[in-house]
Amino acid sequence: MSKVNIFTRGFFKENAVFVMLLGLCPALGTTTSAINGLAMGLATTFVLIMSNIVVSLIKSQIPDKVRIPAYIVVIASFVTVVELTMKAYLPELFAVLGLFIPLIVVNCLILGRAEAFASKNNVFDSILDGLGMGLGFAMALTILGAVREVLGSGSIFDIPLYEGDGALVFVLAPGAFIALGYLIAILNKLTKKTA
């Protein structure tokens, strides 16, 4: 597999949210606005890259039977680092996302990449994979957040687009499912997949 391919498949071919439907809890929970989606996506990207690097470095030292607990400890540590840093330097953002940051630990995307990719490949490829998958995830969350913000609050990145209240349902939980469903449908149509 070429290096470019490792990096780019995270965006479309194996996009975590739109194609593999991984990590939907934070994807649906945090995307009430574009900026929230982007921040959550970048936090996840950071954790994904760091955990991929470490897992790839220590893979030969970890006995098979305890690999999952070892990976989870690595991932949880990086999540806590993100949480503390965000609390210290971005308190406004933390007020919105705080609840979901610890949940990055159980985002199946991250453990999935550690298990399926980083534990079998070298450090450089693992960084590429983490970067691609993470940015693909961030992109999906930003698009989902933008769609929900435009339809629900009538603004994008907090810039007002039109007067009025917008369709409230898109800010609430059901709107998250509706918006995601339509986005997946559109993407499938564009990539001409036959389901």
Binding site: Q61, I62, P63, V66, A88, D165
Partner: protein, 198 residues
């Protein structure tokens, strides 16, 4: 690729021990490094909230804070705002449990005569798009309270209630529960203000 370590008991124990020790040490360092900034961010948030709700002051209200009992086993924190030696206002950190989801924390600022100067929302978990209109950033609804002096008949509030309950506050559309809770928190803060005068 180097051969994997075998899954013998001793290997597993040693590897997990090392991984957890390294993780714990790293986190201890990060915790130490971020402890200060986290405290400061918290203080700054509180100070900004106080600044927003009371008249101009030149003391440090947070350093001079005191607790006022409002009921058996229940106290609220008060922050006096002074200019020179004169008391120009009192900020009361108040809460309610009657919100739609979870506690709502408000900072209510009073003028010395007991009228509400301004209110800012510290923390809430109300529905985005509905209950969050209590925030100044989303709508100016909470300005309705400014200038009012809460009145009580016995323990019952008289004016700080939604119009549906006979008060003077128009509830946020479709958000009566959050609006009621907001009034409840404001009334609670007034009891603290009154008791602080004694």
């Amino acid at each position: 690729m180097a051969a994997k370590k075998e899954s013998t008991f001793i290997n597993m124990v040693v590897v997990l021990l090392i991984v957890s020790t390294v993780a714990a040490t790293t986190l201890a360092f990060v915790y130490q490094a971020t402890k200060g900034p986290i405290e400061q961010a918290k203080l700054k948030k509180q100070k900004n909230a106080i600044k927003k709700v009371v008249a101009d002051f030149d003391n440090n209200p947070i350093a001079e804070n005191f607790k006022v009992a409002i009921a058996e086993g229940d106290t609220l924190e008060c922050y006096p705002a002074k200019k020179g030696d004169k008391l120009v206002g009192l900020a009361v950190k108040t809460y309610t449990k009657k919100g739609f989801s979870g506690k709502i924390w408000l900072m209510v600022g009073y003028n010395p005569d007991g009228s509400i100067n301004n209110i800012s929302v510290l923390e809430h978990k109300e529905t985005p798009g509905l209950g969050d209109k209590m925030e100044k950033a989303k709508s100016d609804w909470s300005n309705k309270f400014n200038g009012l002096i809460p009145e009580f008949k016995g323990d019952e509030p008289v004016n700080i209630k939604v119009t549906k309950d006979g008060g003077v506050i128009d509830a946020i559309t479709a958000t009566t529960i959050s609006s009621r809770a907001f009034c409840d928190a404001v009334n609670r803060s007034f009891i603290a203000f009154k008791n602080s005068q004694k």
